[in-house]
């Protein structure tokens, strides 16, 4: 019974992937996709009811429970969105049925990989899972087989596989560090064991290991200067994938980083991982903020904003301390929900306007009020304006760090402000002003978008105590 939940989170997507690969016909597969995602979400939710025991390969604790539920939830809503999105893609003929079949299979495969990465109790297994997730997304980014899509996928693939290599090297080094203490064999790669003995590991090895892991997984997180793949992959792939990339894959990579950070934090004479993460976080935040100003492609713009927010999150976790960690977790959750909601909106907008060029769309609140105001709401949220959730997390990050590190917090604040400017500069042209571009009716599913925004709104006003205590436990766990 107890093992089922974990197994289910893995098996349902796996089976679904196989099934979808086999089944023809778009409508059926789309529905199946939604159903599978929903089931996965339910099973993940059941983790809160009964907590399974962690085995040698699978692990569940407060930390990854949060991640899993978030992942499966966004996975579910995205599948709903993708159903309507893909339908439109088929009508316009951008995708042929065979590719749709492939797409759905890959979608479930991706879900599987991410869940595996999250519940793997073994650093090797986790690595495999994350790389699998990367490769599936590579294939999906390239799915339109256009000039741009191929280039984006190729870029993503090359940079991604270098990341793979670096991460693997780091993993090996961790094993090497653990082996003399724990002894040869599987145990030396099992989280639960590693954590207990980390204090005695060889610090020099751990340091080198962390450098490689930071760069390896940091590439997936999209930290500057390793971010290069991210904007193009977001811009050229199908929008559901952009949503999943921003909303989930980055988190999964971040999760890996956090795990290793915990490991290092336990070792007295290893370097503090904090400063490295803080530095990269700040660089990413400020850099991405400035990059927002010259963007002409709407999806690419929001991709950069993802980089910015990942920077903020990594900064928060790098600063450490219960409050900052709490803020980091909250910010990560809020960002996942908001950013995917934005991409839902953007996907439909791009379909309605028939382009992703910001210059060709305008006055959206006039032509398509629901989409337009949805986008405005999303941007307001992502820019960190109240009463939406991100304001709370940014408030916590900045105000809690300012007392400790005034200058760093100030730099972060400047980054946030610059980003605000960049986002609204474009929002003005997209949502307001004279209407530009075609104004045909949009057949879209607004439910996922507003569901996310509603959650974000609620979190900004009122957070259920259970959630809070959960986050606080995790924050304490992260130290």
């Amino acid at each position: 019974m107890t093992f089922d939940a974990l197994a289910g989170v893995l098996l349902i997507p796996a089976v679904a992937a196989a099934l979808l690969a086999a089944l023809p016909g778009y409508r059926l597969t789309a529905r199946l996709n939604v159903i599978a995602a929903f089931l996965t979400f339910l099973t993940a939710g059941s983790l809160f009811v009964v907590e399974p025991k962690s085995g040698a390969y699978l692990l569940v604790d407060d930390l990854n429970k949060v991640f899993i539920v978030l992942t499966t939830f966004v996975g579910f809503t995205t599948s709903v969105f993708s159903a309507s999105y893909i339908a439109h893609e088929i009508e316009t003929g951008r995708l042929t049925p065979v590719f749709v079949r492939f797409y759905h299979a890959m979608y479930q495969a991706l879900m599987f990989a991410m869940n595996l990465a999250l519940i793997a109790n073994n650093i090797g297994l986790m690595w495999v899972a994350i790389e699998m997730a990367t490769l599936t997304t590579v294939l999906m980014v390239g799915i339109y087989r256009t000039h741009e899509a191929l280039e984006a996928a190729w870029k993503y693939f090359i940079l991604g596989s270098v990341g793979i290599a670096l991460a693997l090297f780091g993993t090996i080094l961790v094993y090497m560090a653990a082996r003399p203490v724990i002894g040869e064999g599987l145990d030396a790669m099992v989280w639960t064991v590693l954590i207990t003995r980390a204090a005695k590991f060889d610090s020099a090895l751990l340091n080198v290991a962390f450098v490689f892991l930071l760069l390896g997984y940091g590439t997936k997180v999209g930290l500057a200067p390793l971010h290069a793949w991210l904007p193009d992959a977001h811009a050229e792939g199908p929008t559901p994938i952009s949503a999943v990339l921003s909303g989930l894959l980055l988190n999964v990579a971040l999760y890996a980083l956090l795990r290793f950070k915990m490991l290092l934090a336990l070792n007295p004479d290893a370097i503090a991982p904090g400063p490295l993460m803080v530095t990269m976080g700040l660089i990413s935040c400020v850099f991405a903020a400035f990059m927002l100003y010259r963007r002409r492609d709407i999806k690419r713009m929001f991709a950069y904003s993802s980089i910015e927010h990942m920077g903020i999150i990594v900064f928060a976790f790098g600063m450490g301390g219960t409050l900052a960690n709490f803020a980091g977790l909250l910010h990560m959750t809020m960002h996942s929900l908001t950013k995917s909601a934005i991409f839902f909106a953007v996907g439909h907008i791009a379909q309605v306007k028939g382009t992703q060029k910001i210059a060709d769309m305008g006055g959206l609140t006039v032509t398509h009020p629901v989409l337009g105001w949805g986008l405005v709401l999303g941007v307001v949220a992502i820019a960190g304006l109240p009463p939406l959730g991100i304001f709370m997390s940014e408030f916590l990050v900045v105000s809690s760090t300012f007392a400790r590190e005034p200058w760093l917090a100030t730099i972060l604040a400047v980054g946030i402000l610059v980003a605000l400017g960049g986002l609204f500069l474009r929002l003005n042209t997209i949502a307001f002003g004279e209407a530009r571009g075609p104004s045909g009716p949009a057949q879209a599913s607004y439910v996922p978008m507003f569901a996310h925004l509603g959650l974000v709104f609620m979190a900004g006003i009122y957070m259920p105590p259970a959630l809070v205590t959960g986050f606080q436990n995790v924050a304490r766990l992260l130290g």
Partner: protein, 669 residues
């Protein structure tokens, strides 16, 4: 208990927003939204008055909202109840005005939903009792007003105004956020109660002061952070402009007072120098900017900046006296500042309503296209005139009282020991006097060019008197101007509890004195009696009129204007706004605005008209804002290269990062 009721009312306001969305563009939405917000704001203002007079804080309330382990704290103490009154008085009159004005609304679906939300946000800022809910409400206030500013989003300059506004608001909020971060400390103790008990070190306190000047000042429109204000305030619908100028700036002042006087503990004397300098410069710059405008609403917006300066002068003096432990003087200065807060909220709302009425009647904001409206809109003209007299600080109306009190406070300041103040206070006094005189000039221009003379355009020629609701709102406010002018004692005493809370004592009781005089310090020292002055002037005026009409002649004949025998039928030959401001521009503008007059004289015999154009440069924008914008542009242009590298180059970036980190490791141990 009051707090609870107030929160219920706010909840109603918030609930109005979705209702308004449901109404969409239907005409009934207008009356429903404005009507109910009128009622609610009236209720809250009554509550505020009640709670102003029971001294202790009425009912702290902690809702399970906001920061989970903290909750959202709300409370009404005397300070917040005063500002609550100001906010909701403005809100009520604005709603009343809008009941009529809103019928001509171009885009009700973009105004109605945000209007009650905006009111609610402003109320929440004043009610908030912990840093988080304060900032949430603060930024939500900015957000909702931003939405109202971009309501007419088809004009590009409105979008630009909204953009600048939102950026400055974000800047201000971040500044305040950092300030609260400092006050609360790393463990995040955001409740005002515990912030009061925590005593920051001198350096930290100073930093907090600077941050709160930046944060609250940027919202209040303190020079040089005022740039957004004259853009944003006019862009919104007029009743919203009234709220932004008359009320929201006051909420910003509230934030400043709350932090600096209440949370921050005992001030250091040099803080006041900072505040005074800011205030003085703001006052003069604001009115000079205003004088150079010919857009009526923008002129009013700029003039708000001036009044904010006056308020800050009062607050600065209060800080100085407080720092030197002269509580009665501090009470006087603070009363002056707060009274001006109230007064300005009254007459600035009144003036914006008038501008709105004119805009409705003529579709014009540019004074160069107006004129002669006094014939077509006599009642509006009358109330607008009252507003002009009041804002020009002329007796017997209310504007004069608060400036008079400020002067009295300045006259007390030679007793201040510290030398810096000895030098800066008289200078600030001079600036205050200068701004007062210039304000009069400014409103002679505003009223004279808009309402007097002959209509300059057909639109102005066949304007129509505005509707009864708007007039009711405006007459109410002008009555308030007169009342507060001739019976200032009532209002000064009402402020007693506030000053008692902030500086420990309150001014001597005024209402008991005979003839309702106000005597801030001592009978022998200074006194003013608006009531008597008013009575004398009216009496002697009417006596003269009566006598002349009875004893001498009362014959009257209409005829063409004499004008030294140069009859000029065309109204174009009248003095325009810019030509009226020309002498003052020549005196001040050349240095402050690098004003230049460029005359193009056609060659003799040419039939083309000669042109005279005036160039004004906003030096503050050029020096402070343009460089920042340029830098952002430059930086983003530079960094943008990184979007267009080859894969190999990206790999090299990764490679470089790796090598760098490894070398760091190598060097580290």
């Amino acid at each position: 208990m009051t707090t609870t009721y107030a929160l219920y009312c706010v909840a109603v306001l918030i609930a109005l927003a979705p209702i308004a969305i449901c109404f969409g563009t239907s005409a009934r939405g207008n009356s429903v939204v404005y009507g109910s917000s009128l009622v609610v704001t009236l209720i809250i203002s009554v509550l505020a008055v009640l709670s102003l007079f029971d001294q202790e804080v009425t009912g702290r309330i902690v809702l399970p909202l906001g920061l989970p382990w903290l909750g959202a704290h709300f409370a009404i103490d005397t300070l917040s109840s005063f500002f609550l009154f100001v906010v909701n008085l403005g809100g009520a009159t604005a709603s009343l005005f809008a009941l009529g004005y809103g019928r001509h609304e171009r885009a009700p679906d973009r105004v109605l939903p945000f209007y009650p939300a905006y009111l609610a946000a402003m109320n929440l800022v004043v009610l908030a009792d912990d840093a988080f809910s304060f900032l949430v409400s603060w930024e939500f206030m900015s957000l909702s007003s931003w939405a109202l500013v971009v309501a007419y989003h088809r004009e590009r300059e409105n979008l630009h105004a909204g953009y600048v506004y939102l950026l400055m608001a974000g800047f201000g909020t971040l500044a305040l956020l950092l300030a609260f971060g400092l006050l609360a400390g790393a463990n995040g103790d955001y409740v005002f109660e515990s912030i009061r008990t925590s005593h920051p070190t001198a350096g930290l306190a100073a930093l907090v002061l600077v941050l709160s000047i930046l944060g609250a000042g940027s919202k209040a429109g303190v020079v040089p952070l005022h740039a957004w204000l004259p853009l944003a305030h006019p862009a919104a619908p007029s009743h919203v402009s009234a709220l932004m100028s008359g009320v929201m700036t006051k909420v910003a002042v509230y934030g400043f007072v709350r932090i600096v006087f209440d949370l921050l503990g005992t001030p250091a004397w040099w803080w006041s120098m900072l505040v005074l300098a800011v205030g003085g410069i703001t006052a003069v710059m604001g009115v000079l900017y205003a004088l150079m405008q010919h857009d009526l609403k923008r002129l009013l917006a700029y003039h708000t900046v001036e009044n904010i300066g006056i308020i800050y002068i009062g607050l600065g003096l209060a800080l100085a006296f407080k720092a030197h432990d002269m509580p009665f003087a501090a009470a006087l200065a603070l009363t002056a500042g707060l009274l001006h807060v109230f007064n300005h909220s009254v007459f600035k709302s009144l003036l914006f309503f008038g501008a709105g009425a004119v805009l409705n009647a003529t579709g014009e904001r540019d004074m160069e296209h107006l004129g002669g409206l006094i014939h077509r809109m006599p009642q509006t003209a009358f109330v607008f005139l009252v507003g002009c007299v009041a804002i020009s600080a002329l007796p017997p109306l209310n504007g004069f009282v608060s400036e008079w009190l400020t002067f009295q406070a300045i006259l007390l300041s030679p007793q201040l020991p510290s030398w810096g103040l000895k030098f800066i206070v008289p200078a600030v006094g001079a600036l205050l006097a200068l701004s007062a005189a210039l304000a009069a000039a400014c409103f002679v221009k505003a009223f004279g060019i808009t309402f007097l003379g002959r209509p300059r355009t057909p639109a102005a020629a066949d304007a129509r008197e505005t509707d009864s609701n708007s007039l009711a709102a405006m007459f109410f406010l002008s009555a308030l101007c007169l009342l507060a002018g001739i019976l200032p004692g009532l209002f000064i005493d009402a402020l007693g509890p506030v000053t008692k809370m902030l500086v420990g004592v309150n001014m001597p009781r005024q209402t008991g004195l005979d003839w309702l005089t106000i005597v801030p310090i001592a009978e022998s020292r200074s006194s003013y009696n608006g009531l008597l002055v008013f009575i004398f002037v009216t009496l002697s005026g009417s006596i003269a009129a009566f006598a002349i009409h009875r004893l001498a002649s009362d014959k009257l004949r209409r005829g063409p204007a004499w004008d030294c025998g140069y009859p000029n039928p065309s109204p174009v030959t009248q003095y325009t706004a810019s030509s009226f401001a020309q002498p003052i521009r020549r005196v001040y503008g050349t240095t402050v605005f690098a004003a230049r007059e460029i005359g193009q004289m056609p060659p003799p015999g040419a039939t083309v008209p000669a042109r005279l154009s005036v160039q004004l440069r906003d030096l503050i924008w050029d020096m402070a804002y343009a460089p920042i914008a340029a830098f952002v542009g430059y930086a983003s242009e530079r960094l943008n290269v990184l979007q267009f590298l080859t894969i190999r180059r990206y790999l090299s970036l990764v490679f470089a990062a790796l090598v760098l980190l490894l070398s760091v490791l190598a060097i580290w141990q």
